[in-house]
Amino acid sequence: MGNTKPKNFETSLEELERIVRELEQGELTLEKSLELFEQGVKLSRECQDRLTQAERRIEILMRDNQGRAAVRPFDPESELSGGSDGDDSQ
């Protein structure tokens, strides 16, 4: 279990699933069960954080005057003004 790098969400979720499955089979010692439970709680919290930490953002990636990449917020309401380049609306 690498502590250095945040585990990716899928891996954490899979591990959590495996732990729950093992616990549900109920063939472990109480001690081992508690150990797994503790791990499971940790993973669950990590996943929860991954899901809730970020906030939805909409940004546009452009080149600035020097041709460097620049990110700025993108407001679809004001910036999307029906198109000349138009694909037909679906």
């Binding site: 969400f9 616990l23 109920g26 939805r56 990636l61 679809p76 999307l80 380049d85 694909d87």
Partner: protein, 466 residues
């Protein structure tokens, strides 16, 4: 034809034309007459020259026509001519005077039957497929929970609106990074390619700088519906290759469900529409939230269950009969101990009480009042006794002496021995009784006579009562 022929004959009568002159005249006539023709035939001997020009022959059963399609014209032709292909060509006749040859200068070319674009599509598809660009092994998984999604499309099209709508509606946490590119018209393919590279560069730099949060998890490349011509950029080989070499997994989202483009085949995942692509990216957030919720609940439930079952086990063990017997014996022992303790306490109490009573009595009798009265009584008695003794002791001694003398004399006088000395005897019968009356005796009875000195045994010979 009439004026031409007659002019030729006219010339022969005067002086002959030079070859150049004649050829020039033919060229002029032919190029004027066939400045714009449509001709249909089969392509053979197709050659693409290094200069970018194409050379081939159009033929049918009975004739052949040398043809050329210069670079400036063939750049607009989407498909690639190949031998055996039945085509319609539009162009003009040109005469190459040095060789005295004429050829069709092709300005437009389209396949007979399928449309040119359709053919071009099939050709590109077959070529890239043969190259292995569509191989299933190359497809990368789309992350279950993409945090940052790159979107490449036109800023003025329906696609960007649809994608942003879906993502806004379906997710709370997905971050969209939009990069605009024209998606139709000349140069659209190149813009799309540039945008793909732009996002990839941005992604690579984020990874290199360790800004993991800026890394792009997945990219949507697409546009809304349109004609095959409108969608064409997504059939271009350059776009296909840019998609395939993207380090970021790509979801293609071009046109409607029924539109298939080369981009769709080469992408890691094909979404039927831009909205659908956004759904794919967004769908899992809610699902994962609920999955995570369920897992967390199950986690808690299973550990509660596990603990409860352990508790039950312990309780069952605690209730086992083995423990009952021990408990019963403990109880007995406790009862016995209790009884013994009670007896002991009672015994001690009564002993102590007895002792207390004795101590009390002793204390009482030792009390000064009691002692002094006892001492007084004893002294009184002692004093009266002393007086009586002093008064009576002399007379009593004299009387006693006299009595003693009289008694001694009487005793001496009454002594049987004294009587016997004087000759009396005492008769005893056989039983030893003293015989006082003759009537108690019969003849023959034994009599023992006690004399002063010695004894005589004798028998009664006769009695006489007085």
């Amino acid at each position: 034809m009439q004026p031409l022929l007659s002019s030729l004959f006219d010339q022969t009568e005067r002086q002959p034309l030079s070859v150049s002159e004649l050829t020039g005249m033919i060229r002029g006539e032919l190029e004027k007459r066939f400045s714009s023709v449509w001709v249909e035939g089969e392509i053979s001997n197709f050659r693409a020259h290094g200069s970018g020009h194409w050379y081939f022959t159009l033929k049918d059963e009975f004739a052949q026509l040398r043809s050329a399609c210069y670079r400036s014209s063939n750049q607009r032709i989407r498909f690639r001519p190949e031998d055996g292909l039945q085509v319609r060509a539009r162009g003009r006749l040109g005469v190459y005077e040095q060789k005295g040859e004429y050829q069709l200068i092709v300005e437009a070319l389209e396949p007979v039957g399928a449309g040119a674009l359709q053919l071009a599509f099939e050709q590109t598809k077959a070529r890239l497929q043969a190259e292995g660009l569509f191989a299933a092994e190359l497809k990368r998984a789309i992350p279950l929970l993409p945090r940052r999604v790159g979107v490449i499309t036109s800023p003025s099209g329906a696609a960007i609106r649809d994608i942003l709508n879906v993502i806004s509606r379906r997710t709370r946490t997905v971050h969209v990074l939009f990069t605009s590119a024209r998606v139709q018209g000349d140069g659209a393919a190149q813009e799309i390619v540039r945008a793909i590279k732009f996002l990839n560069d941005f992604h690579a730099r984020a990874l290199k700088d360790g800004r993991l949060d800026d890394a792009i998890d997945v990219m949507i490349v697409g546009r809304g519906g349109g004609s095959i011509e409108d969608l064409w950029a997504f059939n271009e080989e350059v776009v296909a290759r840019a998609i395939r070499s993207s380090a970021i997994p790509v979801i293609s989202a071009v046109g409607h469900e029924t539109d298939f483009t080369i981009a769709d085949f080469v992408a890691d995942l094909r979404a039927p529409t831009p909205s659908a692509a956004a759904e794919i990216v967004a769908a899992h957030e809610a699902q994962l939230c609920s999955l995570l919720g369920t897992l967390t609940t199950n986690l808690a439930r299973s550990i509660r269950y596990r603990i409860a079952s352990s508790r039950t086990e312990v309780q069952e063990l605690a209730l086992s009969p083995a423990f009952d017997a021990v408990a019963a014996r403990l109880h007995e022992a406790m009862v016995a101990t209790g009884a013994a303790e009670h007896r002991l306490r009672t015994a001690i109490t009564s002993t102590v009480q007895r002792a207390q009573r004795r101590v009390g009595a002793a204390t009482h009798s030792l009390s000064p009042v009691h002692l002094s009265s006892a001492v007084r009584a004893a002294r009184t008695r002692f004093e009266s006794l002393s007086k009586a003794r002093d008064a009576g002791i002399a007379t009593r001694l004299e009387t006693a002496r006299q009595q003693l003398a009289m008694l001694a004399a009487a005793l001496d006088a009454m002594s049987p021995l004294k009587v016997l000395e004087r000759g009396y005897a005492i008769a005893h019968d056989a039983q030893g009784h003293i015989v006082r009356e003759a009537s108690t005796m019969t003849i023959g009875d034994a009599l023992r006579l006690r004399l002063w000195k010695g004894v005589v045994d004798c028998r009664v010979e006769g009695t006489e009562n007085e």
